[in-house]
Symmetry: C2
Subunit: 112 residues, 2 copies
Amino acid sequence: MEPDRTALHQCDAAVSLAFSILGKRWNGMIIDTLGNGPLAFSALRRAVGGISDAVLSDRLSELAEAAIVAREVAPGPPVSVTYSLTDAGARLRPLLTQLGEWATQNLDSAPH
Amino acid sequence: MEPDRTALHQCDAAVSLAFSILGKRWNGMIIDTLGNGPLAFSALRRAVGGISDAVLSDRLSELAEAAIVAREVAPGPPVSVTYSLTDAGARLRPLLTQLGEWATQNLDSAPH
DNA sequence: CAAAGCCGCTCTGAAAAACAGAGCGATCCC
DNA sequence: GGGATCGCTCTGTTTTTCAGAGCGGCTTTG
């Protein structure tokens, strides 16, 4: 059977692609936090607030693979790991700022 | 015990608020799809693609409660339900477009 | 020197979310 | 009547997220 041609419109593939990353919990907040400057793993965990080690580790792997954040290991001792935004990640910053403005203007900050 | 004052930076509360909605699977795509015009429940399900009835129903309730989408029941028979963006939702459209552009320019469209 | 703490993770097991699919009353088409 | 569409809801399974413990390597404290 052919694909349904009766649908009047479809979700835009580009937006869908964007939300394959941003539509996961924490990713937006991680990127936003790193927008203020590079951070180590545990500093990032504290800055984001409420995320667990396991999930943060997982998200950072994904974001690194998508080339949105960079993982840099400063050889030690002591070895320290620093996460920062790549250029691609940095290009997201103004959009996140706009999203923040939209949220404060259009969303009730005290959700049910 | 006092809150930790040693953190150099924190995630912006406004961005965090935005992602309490957009950081959930499907929400971005639902809003984007409705941006092209109002749709009935089943047309929306087809347009978004891959979402189940139960989850769509759930997301629409949340988005309606957040006053991002409006649910309008046209009295029948046949009763038909139409979902559309509110003004707040519509104000998100240009941002979603920008996110789409960012994604096409900075993300590999063939994920892992 | 030993105990204690931070670092960046990984592992475990349990709770929450998303999923596919069936079902349902109503209405419409042949 | 038989079949399909509509807007859901319910059931049970899979996936995701979670808190918390653990770990090796290092530093700081006493």
